[in-house]
């Protein structure tokens, strides 16, 4: 038994069986991936969808109640594969398209020329630099700042592998200028905005249909399904915001620790919190590995949510994520064991004392500013009393603070 669903194909409602829908959407997705690199991709795709819709209407007019798998297979055979449509592929036009469309150049991992994940060689190909130069730069930057290490793992996880010859040519592309990058970012933003809008319109349409009660039960089912998906997306966005905030908080804390602590101002003086470890290098490595350890899973979940939010067909390289995480874990454990006796206890103690001094001084002043209220008729004893009380109060408050 198969479910019948209603879909919107080129602006037309089509009843289609679920399996047929799956193969159709797979086919359209392949085409979309294929044509997304060309300027006219969207338009070509719309035309093809319109044509398929027309073929389906022909079937329905002949008496089919809905579109089944064989109808879809027939339509796909008639339209041909993405490769069949590439009649205009020659070096000239390809070059022209790449020059006109910056997003046709893509970042890949070049796994044919790799040490770890092929990220450096991919970047080298993208920016037209020699791979060894990129590698040396990356190693130097990792040694001195550490930041590219996280970036490396992130890129490893999200960049696709360049597998087909098409990928390889796209990996190299033409020359990339800042302008191209700005353009492609703008393009990306427009796409995202459109996707969000489409999603909202779809849900609104289905809600409208549902309230009209004129439609059959099957469209209501798909309407409810869409509402559930939409709610799931809102929930996902909430989780995303929470995770991003947590991630930022951790990053700020650990980076502050790595660079020597927070500056904060309890009252008058400026105090620097001490770093966890004595040696700055160890401290840096410790914070960095702990940060990666926390950020890798958070980042992966965030990325997965984003993919879900925008119905993206991209995949996460779970293997690479896990491997990166294991490397970080090993690094973290190693550093923890190595620096076990190296904890900055003294400076923390010192910090605590400074804090105590500062805050007691501060609170003391404030309390003294309040005019003492004589409790007993004897003014002298009252004054002494207040003074004593302010000292004990201060001590109490300080211990509470700590």
């Amino acid at each position: 038994m198969n479910k019948i669903i209603q879909i919107n194909l080129a602006g037309q409602a089509v009843s289609i069986d679920e399996k047929a829908y799956q193969s159709l959407s797979h086919y359209l997705q392949t085409l979309e991936n294929h044509f997304s690199t060309t300027i006219d991709g969207r338009e070509i795709l719309t035309d093809i969808e319109a044509r398929i819709a027309e073929l389906f209407f022909g079937k329905i007019r002949k008496g089919n109640a809905f579109i089944n798998e064989s109808d879809v297979a027939e339509a796909i055979q008639l339209m041909g594969t993405a490769e069949d449509m590439d009649i205009d592929e020659d070096p000239d036009t390809q070059h022209h398209q790449q020059a006109a469309n910056p997003s046709s150049k893509k970042l890949y991992r070049d796994t044919d020329d790799r040490v770890l994940g092929g990220v450096c060689s991919g970047l080298g190909a993208y920016f037209g630099m020699d791979t060894s130069v990129v590698r040396i730069l990356a190693v130097l930057l990792i040694l001195f700042t550490g930041i590219p290490l996280i970036a490396y793992f992130v890129l490893w996880a999200i960049l696709p592998e360049a597998t087909t010859p098409e990928d390889r040519s796209r990996m190299k592309g033409g020359n990339t200028t800042i302008n191209d990058i700005v353009n492609s970012v703008r393009q990306e933003a427009t796409d995202v905005a459109r996707n969000v809008k489409n999603e909202a319109t779809n849900v609104a349409d289905n809600l409208k249909k549902k309230s009209n009660f004129s439609n059959s039960a099957k469209s209501v089912t798909s309407g409810i399904q869409q509402i559930v998906t939409f709610l799931a997306k809102i929930f996902g966005a909430g989780v995303l915001i929470f995770l991003v905030t947590t991630g930022i908080a951790f990053t700020v804390f650990l980076l502050a620790n790595a660079t020597g602590g927070f500056h904060f101002n309890p009252g008058n003086g400026d105090i620097l919190t001490p770093s966890i470890l004595k040696s700055p290098t160890l401290n840096w490595l410790f914070s960095l590995s702990l940060l990666s350890l926390i950020l890798i899973p958070i980042g992966t979940i965030c990325y997965a949510i984003i993919l879900f939010l925008f119905n993206s067909a991209l995949h996460i390289n779970v293997k690479a994520v896990f491997l990166s995480w294991l490397i970080c874990l090993a690094m973290f454990i190693g550093i923890s064991i190595y620096s076990a006796g190296n904890v900055n206890i003294n400076s923390f103690r010192q910090f605590g004392e400074t804090l105590k001094e500062r805050s007691s001084y501060d609170i003391d002043i404030k309390i003294k500013e309040i005019p003492p209220i004589p409790l007993t008729p004897d003014a002298d004893t009252a004054l002494k009393d207040t003074e004593e009380r302010s000292i004990t109060d201060t001590l109490l408050i300080t211990t509470e603070l700590l």
Partner: protein, 109 residues
């Protein structure tokens, strides 16, 4: 060297000329163009046509209008632009020359 590549290279230029010629007869619908091209065995699958149509349109040689259809959604009807008409007549000359030349050459052996 693959025979398919050479064949598709040969077909490519001719295909553009044929599409323009078909469009020169007035307003034509994409599936009409497809029917003719299929009959002439110039294309195998319909998908081939759509990238070409879009490209010719973007190059300013073709234009289209949406027209209501009694059997479903509105359709795009293509016709030649002024530039397209000029382009097409130039291609027609080139084709005549080319087919003459090729005929002459192949008759030599």
């Amino acid at each position: 060297m693959k025979i398919e590549n050479t064949q598709s290279q040969m077909r490519k230029g001719v295909l553009e000329y044929c599409i323009l010629t078909l469009a020169s007869t007035g307003e034509v619908y994409a599936s009409d163009i497809i029917t003719h091209l299929k009959e002439a065995k110039l294309i195998v699958v319909e998908g081939t046509l759509y990238p070409l149509l879009t490209r010719l349109k973007n190059a300013g040689l073709l234009k289209y209008e949406w027209k209501e259809s009694d059997q479903g959604p509105p359709r795009k009807y293509y016709s030649l632009t002024e530039e397209g008409t000029k382009f097409n007549s130039q291609l027609a000359d080139t084709w005549t020359e080319l087919s003459n030349s090729v005929n002459q050459l192949t008759q030599l052996k």
